[in-house]
């Protein structure tokens, strides 16, 4: 294995994405190559630094912000359901329902 071939595989080695045969070949090369050993150490150090990046803390209001906009995206909400009545249409329906009830009461 050449240094270039080894270098091209070090990243996958750190990600545990190599076959046992590939790992064996890299190990054999590293035993004789200080430059590739240094390269591997640097990449491992890089991974360790990346893993130390801080965890963000979500604000308490995050769900509330989402919940306030759920009607915009959920199926069946006024914004996404073309068959659903508009508020004006609902008022007309309510008017005729009330009128029907009154006329029934009048017949009693």
């Amino acid at each position: 294995m050449t240094c270039q071939e080894c270098s091209d595989r070090l990243s996958a080695l750190l990600d545990d994405e190599l076959t046992p045969e590939e790992i064996g070949a890299i190990r054999a090369h590293l035993l004789d190559c200080d430059a590739c050993c240094r390269e591997l150490a640097l990449l491992a150090c890089l991974d360790a630094e990346a893993a130390r990046m801080s965890e963000p803390q979500p604000s308490d209001a995050l769900w509330e912000k989402i919940e306030n906009r759920l009607d915009e995206v959920l199926p069946g909400s006024p914004e996404t359901n073309p068959w659903r009545s508009s508020p004006e249409e609902e008022n007309v329906v309510d008017f005729f329902r009330a009128k029907s009830r009154l006329s029934k009461m009048g017949r009693m």
Binding site: R52, M53, E55
Partner: protein
């Protein structure tokens, strides 16, 4: 599966449970992508709203997390294109948690973390998202490939190039010990 089905029926309790399940992972992914907590919260909000809007199209043929990360990755890319305002990491210094008791150690640690965040944030989009998924979210190449809609070989190449770019930059800046 039951939770996803309930979400597909639009049950709000289920949506809340799904949010609780993935909130930290999505926020972390967005934060490490854009480097600003306010932007990351906006992005997380959009990720969940888009997920809830489209969850009816999820067919359980792939892992739900892969589906969600794919959606998140696309939104991050769009966010990057749309937003020229975010200056990565300006607001990070106040938000670093877990500082050492020794102020000198804390300063060094903070500088290294800032340098790493800036370097990650400056990676080209494709390399950055691959790096975040594999190195920080623990995805295999195959899982990352599924989320990104590319081949595992492409993920392998992106990881190699991302690591090389980070190593060159951080070594030059003296941020790697």
């Amino acid at each position: 599966v039951a939770l996803i089905s309930a979400c597909q029926r639009g049950e709000r309790d289920a949506l809340r449970r799904l949010f609780d399940l993935y909130r930290d992972r999505m926020l972390r992914f967005a934060f490490r992508y854009c480097g600003d907590l306010d932007d990351a919260e906006d992005l997380t909000q959009e990720i969940f709203l888009r997920a809830f809007e489209r969850i009816g199209s999820y067919r359980c043929e792939s892992a739900f997390s892969s589906w969600l990360y794919r959606l998140a990755a696309n939104l991050c890319l769009n966010f990057r294109r749309q937003s020229r305002r975010f200056e990565p990491l300006d607001a990070i210094e106040d938000r670093i948690s877990g500082a050492s008791d020794d102020p000198a150690d804390a300063a060094i640690s903070s500088e290294q973390e800032d340098a790493m965040m800036k370097a990650v944030s400056d990676l080209p989009d494709g390399l950055r998202i691959a790096f975040l998924l594999v190195r920080l979210e623990g995805f295999s190449y195959a899982e990352a490939a599924e989320s990104l809609g590319v081949s595992p070989e492409a993920v392998r190449m992106r990881m190699m190039r991302a690591r090389r770019a980070l190593r060159v930059r951080l070594t030059r800046e003296g941020a790697m010990r």
